[in-house]
Symmetry: C2
Subunit: 100 residues, 2 copies
């Protein structure tokens, strides 16, 4: 499995994956700990990137659910769990042929 | 957690998630079983959508690895496992500040 080189033209799906990773780093690199999101950074990430998909979701409850080791930080794996949940929600919606 | 309505403007990150789900359905709906990918559909999905990220990967080995229940079909959850792997690979690459 290879990462792409700068001169490689990514497909749309590949670019989507790259851009989702970038949403994490765009927020995590705002403080000294660049590899984890502080809870403040996580709240900012959600507001900026998932205002529709997480509309009506109690963010503090979601944080408790995702931050399984309760260290008040969001590791990349915990962020990835959220992405997985969102993908599954959109998929259910698509399967049910709702207006998604 | 709410799906978006048609009149809602998705953010780029939300659109990425929606488009990744669409890559699955674009291929899975080519035969009668619309909710699973046949192995042929899966091969087509990979070639079309992840030619760079899965370059050099033995596709038949990858299928064996992902198709954990060995039913010669790719369920959405198995596809999601692949997406998760790709996200983690791109993330490692980003962390190492490789040319990704």
């Amino acid at each position: 499995m290879a990462g792409e080189k700068t001169d490689v033209k990514l497909t749309h799906a590949e670019q989507c994956i790259k851009d989702l990773v970038a949403t994490f780093y765009d927020c995590s690199r705002k403080d000294k700990d660049q590899e984890n999101l502080s809870l403040e950074e996580f709240r900012e990430l959600v507001k900026k990137n998932f205002p529709n998909y997480l509309k009506g979701v109690n963010l503090e409850e979601k944080i408790k659910e995702l931050d399984t080791n309760n260290d008040k930080q969001m590791k990349f794996s915990e962020f990835l769990k959220l992405i997985g949940e969102l993908v599954k929600t959109v998929k259910r919606c698509e399967k049910a042929k709702h207006t998604c």
